[in-house]
């Protein structure tokens, strides 16, 4: 059994001004450990909703979402927090760094919540910030960093605890091509070396180019699910 994520007849409805809106309809989906998968589709197709359900940020109206063996519908708010903390990394399109924390502290935050020892944290974060090209910028606050630099910090924060799964919502939308390529290199490397599963919601062709699998959503349903052959790291 190598499944990391299992969606079983998942439906999600919202109420928009009292009018029910169906964002996802009876989605059946399985994502295995180590996948580098893109969720594609036009705006409003349900990509972000799907990511929110998988990330335990939201609950399905119908059906079940299982992440690493945990049925998110059955978990309490606190248990969902623990699941996110220990298993899932998030990369947001708008970076979502904490403005009162420095680049170092932002990247360190999740490790600190996990209770990792200070010296261990320091070594890991300094190394990681160096890897993402932010050496020397550790003490800068988000407002003192460019969009690309902020996204690197966000990625460092997401991958620092080496989660089972990284959910990335348009991670390259606000960065230049060169930065985008280096960030994807980093995530790909982590995918190969640490077997971290990446699930992207994106329109970026470069991300799609690197994906092992592209799931296309349309009107809240899986319209296409394409597995692609990729070079597998030794």
């Amino acid at each position: 059994m190598n499944d990391l994520i299992t969606l079983n007849k998942v439906t999600k409805e919202y109420r928009d001004n009292s009018v029910p809106v169906r964002a996802l309809s009876e989605i059946d989906l399985t994502i295995e450990k180590g996948e580098f998968t893109v969720i594609a589709g036009p705006s409003g197709s349900g990509k972000s909703t799907l990511l929110n359900l998988i990330g335990g940020l939201d609950r399905p109206t119908e059906g079940t979402v299982s992440v690493d063996g945990n049925d998110t519908s059955e978990l309490s708010r606190s248990e969902l927090s623990i699941l996110r903390l220990n298993r899932i990394g998030f990369v947001f399109q708008a970076y979502n760094l904490i403005p009162v924390l420095t680049a170092y502290e932002n990247a360190e935050y999740v490790l600190m919540l996990q209770g990792m020892h200070l010296s261990e944290r320091k070594k890991l974060i300094l190394g990681l910030l160096k890897t993402v090209g932010l050496e020397g910028l550790e003490n800068r606050y988000p407002r003192e960093l460019s969009g690309g630099q902020q996204q690197r910090v966000a990625i460092a924060r997401a991958i620092a605890p080496e989660p089972r799964l990284v959910l990335a919502d348009e991670p390259t939308a606000n960065v230049d091509t060169k930065t985008s390529a280096s960030l994807l290199d980093l995530m790909e490397k982590l995918n190969h070396e640490k077997d971290v599963t990446f699930l992207f919601s994106t329109h970026d062709p470069e991300v799609m180019e690197r994906a092992h699998r592209i799931i296309t959503l349309r009107d809240g349903r899986v319209a296409q699910d394409v597995h692609r052959e990729q070079d597998v790291a030794p």
Binding site: D58, S78, S81, R84, V100, V110, L113
Partner: protein, 411 residues
């Protein structure tokens, strides 16, 4: 540690708002501290003067004396009671007294008066009356016919030191008696009742006038080292006198008018302070709530990253705790310094109230010395600080009442 750092930095994200809030807490604390310590100082001095001039912090008298003060309801065996009382911890001075009513007559007319027989050597140590001689000198124990008279009464009867007067009264048996005395000195306390109605004579002279025995008095007043000893002294005395006709009363029962007025006035003060603190609490609530409502996106991110709701709430409460600590400390230092300054130097309100301010007949010194105590600093500090922390609870709860995907999507 991270929560503390996070909270502290979050507070200073909006520097102006935080400074305004801290200032509000500090000013509220300062104002409350100053006003309470001023009232305590004013009432403390008033009570001290009143109890020292009258029957002490604790009074021993006949059980029926308060209901119908009469010379025949006297305390027997005064000296043995003095001996017993002197052995109680906290008792500084013991003043046996004889209090009666009389008519004072001179060639210029007559007037009703209260006669107070006292031990002059003790009065000199305690009573403000003995310190406010405007003419002549204070009486001595061996003045066989000496009398002190209030300035207003002296003016009415055209008396001055050296002049004679006749006291007419009923003695302990109810017989009408009279005694010729000579004015030793005139006092002016600023208290209408004392200055216009009171005469003081040595205790033995009063015994002679009222035909009381050498070991008898109508009251024994106990002056304590501090009012804090009052309950303890009463507690020790009452069992010893339970089989006698004597009672032990706190000054609040002996001077019930004064105690009642003070209780009402203090209550009013506390209501006023309460209103200030209540309004202050809205400022604090507004600041913390605003700070929470404008950071929902940040909170949604923190929750998405795995921060537990409890931890997030704790962070908000830490913010209000820090606001409370800083604001309260600044307020205590500022209010404490101002209060201490006026405790040492006094606040002269004579231009505001004039010289003759009285409460239920007792004069208030127009120069008010605040009374700053560690207890006041502690309870007021704890109250304001505690209030700030409690106020932080609602915003803390609000911080986690968000839909993470909705908030993250909203940007």
């Amino acid at each position: 540690m991270m929560i503390l750092k996070f909270a502290w930095r979050s507070l200073w994200r909006n520097r102006r708002r935080t400074i305004i809030t801290i200032s509000s807490i500090a000013i509220g604390t300062t104002l409350a501290l100053f006003m309470i310590s001023m009232a305590d100082g004013m009432y403390g001095k008033l009570v001290e003067d009143a109890v020292r001039m009258n029957a002490g912090h604790v009074t021993i008298e006949h059980k029926n004396y308060e209901e119908a003060p009469s010379i025949d309801l006297f305390v027997p065996a005064v000296s043995s009671l003095e001996q017993s009382a002197s052995e109680i911890d906290g008792v500084a001075l013991i003043k046996p007294m004889i209090i009666g009513q009389a008519v004072i007559s001179t060639g210029s007319g007559s007037a009703g008066a209260g006669v107070m027989g006292v031990k002059p050597e003790i009065e000199l140590k305690t009573s403000p009356l003995a310190r406010n001689i405007v003419s002549g000198r204070y009486i001595r124990s061996d003045d066989e016919r000496g009398v002190m008279i209030g300035a207003a009464l002296a003016e009415r009867l055209e008396l001055e030191p050296g002049r004679k007067l006749v006291i007419t009264t009923n003695d302990v048996t109810g017989e009408l008696v009279g005694e010729m005395l000579r004015v030793n000195g005139i006092f002016k306390t600023g208290m209408e009742e004392a200055d216009g109605f009171l005469v003081q004579v040595p205790l033995d002279v009063a015994r002679r006038i009222f035909h009381l025995g050498p070991d008898q008095a109508t009251r024994i007043g106990l002056i304590l080292r501090s009012p804090d000893y009052q309950k303890q002294v009463i507690h020790q005395l009452r069992p010893a006198l339970s089989d006698t006709e004597l009672g032990v009363l706190p000054w609040q029962e002996v001077m019930s008018d004064l105690a009642g007025f003070m209780a009402v006035d203090k209550g009013g003060n506390y209501v006023f302070q309460g209103i200030i603190i209540f309004l202050l609490s809205f400022t604090i609530l507004n600041t913390i709530l605003m700070s929470v409502l404008e950071r929902t996106h940040e909170f949604a991110t923190l929750l998405a990253l795995g921060t537990s709701p409890t931890r997030l709430r704790l962070q908000i409460i830490t913010e209000s705790t820090l606001l409370g600590i800083v604001g309260t400390m600044v307020g205590l230092v500022l209010g404490g310094s101002i209060s201490y300054y006026f405790q040492v130097n006094g606040l002269d309100l004579s231009s505001l109230y004039g010289e003759g301010m009285t409460i239920t007949g007792f004069a208030i010194d127009p120069v008010i010395h605040n009374q700053l105590t560690l207890w006041l600093l502690t309870w007021l500090g704890m109250l304001v600080f505690g209030l700030t922390v409690v106020i932080g609870i609602y915003p803390a709860l609000r911080s986690t009442m968000i839909s993470i995907p909705d908030v993250l999507r909203s940007r």
